[in-house]
């Protein structure tokens, strides 16, 4: 009889991937970590600015960008695809802002309008012109993290030194630059997210910061997207940051915890996928969700349980006779 859940075998789930398939395991987990880190770091600022769904919008509206780029360049090369997707991402942000600012439509509705329309446009474009080639919406939306290893990807070599498969190296650069940008513009990002009016009076242009953040978000989403697919990108824009925010109330610590969370989600997710033999990206997201639930329930300062416990203790203290006299 078939079992619904495969039997758990420590040796097979945790050891074999690292001892027998190191080449595969290492690059997949590293890619998952890099995507989750870059998305999570940028996502923190989206959450703080109450724009969490903009990332979702951008990752969908990339489709028409890719389609147009394909039609213009007539190739599936990485550069035109990347530029097309980037342009679409930035255009989406501008469109959302324009709808929201120049009509009575609220921002969340504007996001919904912009990305569904653009996504549908992309679907039509692809089905009209690109049906002959291997470019369909499934392929564009659901990349597979399992294919980032050197077995299936060209490898970057610099001066005789083998760095790794192209998508992973590209993602590593994007992640590093993300961290660097946040460190460099920490105070500008902080004040323009917290208090745009004060930012203005300090000579920091909040609008410029907004579009700069959106542009970089597009870069992150696009570079992650092609290799790992939309599910991982959209989830990692929100989950690691939201989990970290439950555990600390200091932004630098929140950013650090985001990175820790990314590492945990990627590793545990990979092992979950090995155990259940399921989608790796999906398993990583599920683990990020599990980590969020753990933080939600057990966070020392904001968790459901510690708060409940504290309330009970206060009630007991209040009803204690020596307190009443």
């Amino acid at each position: 009889m078939n079992q619904l859940i495969p039997p758990f075998d420590f040796e097979r789930v945790f050891l074999a991937p690292w001892t027998q398939h190191f080449e595969l395991t290492f690059w997949i987990v590293l890619m998952g970590f890099l995507v989750a880190t870059a998305c999570g770091l940028v996502g923190n600022y989206l959450i703080l600015r109450r724009m969490a769904l903009v990332g979702d919008a951008i990752s969908h509206s990339i489709l028409p960008g890719i389609a147009v780029a394909f039609l213009l360049a007539n190739s599936r090369g990485t550069t035109p695809m990347f530029l097309g997707a980037l342009a679409a991402g930035v255009a989406t942000t501008i469109l959302i802002e324009a709808i929201h600012k120049r009509s009575r439509v609220k921002q969340d509705a504007a996001i919904g309008i912009a990305f569904t329309s653009l996504f549908a446009l992309g679907v039509i474009l692809i089905s009209l012109y690109a049906s002959k080639v291997d470019l369909d919406q499934e392929c564009v939306l659901y990349g597979e993290i399992g294919f980032v290893t050197p077995l299936t990807q060209p490898v970057v070599t610099v001066g005789g030194l083998t760095l790794g498969p192209v998508p992973v190296v590209r993602m590593a650069v994007v992640t590093l630059v993300t961290g660097l940008l946040i460190a460099m513009f920490y105070k500008e990002l902080l004040v323009s997210s917290f208090d745009p009016a004060l930012a203005f009076s300090l000579g920091i242009n909040a609008t410029v910061m907004h579009y700069a953040l959106m542009c970089w978000l597009s870069v992150v989403v696009v570079s992650a997207f092609e290799a790992v697919g939309a599910i991982l990108v959209i989830a990692m824009l929100i989950l690691p940051g939201a989990t970290a925010a439950l555990l600390s109330q200091r932004l630098p610590v929140v950013l650090l915890l985001t990175v820790v969370n990314a590492a945990l989600s990627a590793t545990t997710g990979f092992h979950l996928a090995t155990w259940l033999d399921c989608s790796i990206a999906g398993a990583m997201v599920v683990m990020a969700g599990v980590l969020f639930c753990l933080a939600w329930v057990f966070s020392p300062t904001q968790g459901l349980l510690p708060r409940q416990w504290q309330r009970t203790r206060t009630n007991t203290a209040l009803s204690a006779p020596e307190w009443i006299h």
């Binding site: 703080l48 109450r50 460099m184 920490y186 105070k187 500008e188 902080l190 004040v191 997210s193 917290f194 208090d195 009016a197 004060l198 203005f200 009076s201 300090l202 000579g203 920091i204 925010a245 600390s248 109330q249 200091r250 932004l251 929140v254």
Partner: protein
């Protein structure tokens, strides 16, 4: 250049402050300023010259454009007409000399920063790009927190503060900006009595050190005690001048129109304190 606008010409009795000695540069000079939201004017032909060292209360009914005026004066809003000068310079060039206290509700107090972080933001204008706050900036921030009696809370998360404490933190941040001209949007809204006293003491101290302060204020009865200068605003400048000259029944009625409840309250206050207003 300084032609009187039609509005001020039609109100010859409106008291206006003389801009001190002729050579003195106004802290804030506003000329023929008009601001519109979606083609509906909110402020109309505002002319204003605030000399240094004044504590100005901006009063007027809801929707009079009080907050809009200070935002427009800082260059945050597009102007339909007119210009603003701060210390004789276009406002963009003088941002360093401007401190700002926004309305307390305008920010998210669950933001993951400490009291110290918020006050340090006041130092950002002095720091260049890529510069972190230094020891000196932290010292200044501590001094400013001490002035508003919030130093013991320096490491608290801001969401754990009461309304009055939040307002004190905002004031400390404005102090840390070390500006010469301050714009404050309703700093007294929703604060406890102790904070209110602390704030007004601080404002007087700043004024006595030669700073210029423009404070949006919603509570007419206290406006008379708090500010040495009043700007009565209702889309236009109804009156601008020394409080004892401007706080009159006629001018207040002009500002508030038919809002009798407020007016009778004012009449009561004016009558009680023996003001210069004619009490009906």
């Amino acid at each position: 250049m300084n032609l009187p606008s039609p509005e001020s010409a039609s109100l010859p009795a409106t008291p206006h402050i003389n801009c001190g000695s002729p050579g003195e540069v106004s802290s804030l000079e506003v000329h023929d300023l008009t601001v519109a939201y979606q083609k509906k004017p909110v402020l109309w032909g505002i002319d204003l010259a605030v000399p240094p060292g004044r504590l100005v209360g901006i009063v007027g009914p809801n929707g009079a454009g009080k907050s809009t005026l200070i935002k427009a004066a800082m260059g945050m809003l597009p102007l339909s007409s007119g210009w603003v000068k701060v210390f004789g310079q276009p406002v963009r060039k003088s941002l360093r000399r401007i401190g700002y206290v926004p309305q307390r509700e305008s920010v998210d107090w669950d933001f993951p920063v400490s009291v110290m972080d918020v006050v340090l933001m006041g130092r950002y204008g002095q720091l260049g790009l890529l510069r972190r706050p230094r020891k000196r900036d932290r010292e200044i921030a501590r001094e400013c927190l001490d002035k508003v009696k919030m130093l013991p809370y320096a490491n608290r998360q801001i969401s754990n503060l009461s309304g009055g404490q939040q307002q004190r933190v905002f004031l400390a941040r404005a102090l840390a900006q070390e500006s010469d001209l301050y714009f404050m949007d309703e700093p007294f809204a929703g604060v406890d009595a102790a904070t209110e006293t602390a704030i007004i003491t601080l404002l007087h101290e700043l004024r006595d050190r030669g700073k210029t302060l423009l404070v949006v204020h919603h509570d007419l009865p206290t406006a008379r005690d708090y500010f040495d200068t009043l700007l009565l605003l209702n889309m236009r400048v109804v009156a601008f001048g020394d409080t004892d000259k401007v706080f009159t029944h006629d001018l207040l009625q002009k500002t508030y129109g038919g809002r009798l409840t407020i007016l009778s309250e004012v009449a009561h206050v004016v009558g009680q304190r023996g003001g210069s207003a004619k009490v009906p």
